[in-house]
């Protein structure tokens, strides 16, 4: 049984069909990548799983419940964490307090939450800036902060939207290391990225989206060799 199973997902905005019958399944414990040319509907897909947009048709089964059209906070509490293409950190809060926001709705004690937060910040090499305001840290650090902040909710599935965008090579290494070790600890990842080298490095399987449908799936090498995928990138 897959952890996440999406069937026949459709979404239009106005007249424009953005998602046209997406099928996707993510197995417990895997790291799956989603790639595709601009405008393929990748971010829209995340926004629908996350509950920001409603669906027009189709189902999203996560841990055997159909979570389509749930509210955003309910999806989050049910075990899906996510990051955004442009990191949405709480600018005027300290890095540590950013980390503690999820603890508001958790039963853990404050001390326990702080301990966990500091541990994650260390892993993300953000320990040194934990008392800085989030607005003061670099763009790459913001992306890392957003990622480890999501981990505070202890999600089963983490959606990463362009995690490598605008972040320097050293921090990318940190990020990749974190994803790997969390994956070994049992976390499942679904990530959108156009940086194929990193995707190949991390992902077991890759799904290719183009023009609102999935056109291919397989290991990174299989996908790269697939003529249909190259055709999609070349345009019509």
């Amino acid at each position: 049984m897959a952890l996440l199973e999406i069937q026949g997902l459709k979404k239009q905005f106005g007249g424009l069909v953005v998602l046209d019958g997406i099928e996707l399944e993510v197995q417990q414990g895997e790291i799956q990548g989603i790639i595709g040319p601009n405008g393929a509907g990748k971010s829209t897909l995340f926004n629908i799983i996350n509950g920001i947009y409603s669906t027009d048709a189709g189902s999203i089964r996560f841990k055997n419940r159909n979570i389509a059209n749930w509210s955003v906070h309910r999806v989050a509490r049910f075990g899906i964490g996510r990051t955004f293409q442009v990191a949405r950190v709480f600018n005027e809060m300290t890095v540590l307090n950013n980390m503690l926001v999820p603890s508001v709705v958790m039963t853990t004690s404050r001390a326990e939450a702080v301990r966990r937060a500091e541990e994650l910040l260390e892993l993300a090499t953000l320990g040194r800036v934990r008392n800085n305001l989030a607005i003061e840290i670099s763009g790459g650090q913001k992306k890392l902060l957003e990622f480890v902040r999501t981990m505070m909710t202890d999600p089963d599935l983490i959606l990463l939207d362009e995690p490598f965008n605008g972040i320097n090579p050293a921090l990318i290494e940190v990020l990749i290391g974190l994803v790997r070790s969390l994956n070994q600890a049992g976390k499942t990842f679904l990530l959108i990225s156009h940086e194929m080298p990193h995707v190949s490095q991390l992902c077991d399987r890759v799904s290719v989206l183009a023009a609102g449908t999935n056109i291919a799936r397989g290991t990174p090498d299989e996908v790269r060799a697939n003529p249909a995928v190259i055709a999609a990138y070349l345009g019509q």
Partner: protein, 236 residues
């Protein structure tokens, strides 16, 4: 002469430059196409040329004149027009008003305005038919026609196009490239950023491929066409 970009370094924040020293030349009367994966810095390059971003280093020359210190609203006066990515018609104004705004910088000269309008209507008879319609109720393809027509109102020498076919229904894409190739026949200098590799290649004279804010490949169309599969394979 045309448009020359020399060793440009630019970005939204100082710490993470998107462009790391890009060089290119858009030859007079030719179509120059910029290809590259998401995040390569293609749109950022156009924005920098047009004065939305100030380069940290490097120069932008138009017909030999330095233009990187000018503001966006001064560019049309320098003979450079810019098609923004996405929709840019004024939806609650008529087609004709949209065109008149295209000629805003020659607003004092009624005669020149009328000549320009006549010229544009001759080129785009469909716009003449719908001159008194609100631009917002035109179809997606017609809106794009209007945007392109609006670009030519002041008779600029150089036109920058950012993803001219993105967000359009597939059936309309051909029309757009037909219009662009007409502009090419009229000897406009065109610098175009495009995801639709095959289509843009069909009208290109010279092609640049960027990667991570740097020049990756360049060459005349024929030469680049041979390498196309390899170039695209690098993106996936």
């Amino acid at each position: 002469m045309g448009l020359e970009v020399k060793n440009i370094v630019a970005g939204y924040t100082r710490e993470v430059p998107i462009l790391n020293g890009v060089n290119l030349t858009a030859q007079d009367g030719r179509v120059t196409v910029i290809l590259g994966p998401n995040g390569a810095g293609k749109s950022t390059l156009l924005k920098t040329i047009y004065g939305y971003l100030t380069p940290q280093e490097g120069e932008v020359l138009h017909d030999g004149k330095r233009i990187q210190d000018l503001k966006p609203n001064q560019m049309l006066g320098e003979g450079i027009a810019y098609l923004l990515q996405g929709h840019s018609v004024f939806p609650r104004m008529t087609v004709e008003e949209n065109l008149e705004l295209g000629g805003w910088i020659m607003r004092g000269d009624q005669k020149r305005m009328q000549t320009a309008l006549d010229f544009v209507y001759a080129r785009f008879p469909r716009l003449r038919e719908k001159r008194s319609f609100l631009a917002g109720i035109l179809s997606g393809g017609e809106q794009r026609m209007l945007e392109i027509a609006r670009l030519t109102m002041t008779g600029p020498r150089t036109i920058l196009l950012d993803e001219p076919s993105v967000g359009l229904m597939p059936s309309l894409v051909d029309e757009v490239y037909e219009e662009i190739s007409k502009l090419k026949d009229e000897r406009y200098t065109i610098l175009m950023v495009d995801q639709n590799v095959r289509k843009s290649m069909s009208i290109a004279d010279y092609v640049y491929a960027l990667a991570l804010g740097e020049n990756r490949y360049e060459g005349p169309r024929e030469e680049m066409e041979k390498k196309l599969d390899d170039i695209v394979r690098e993106w996936i």
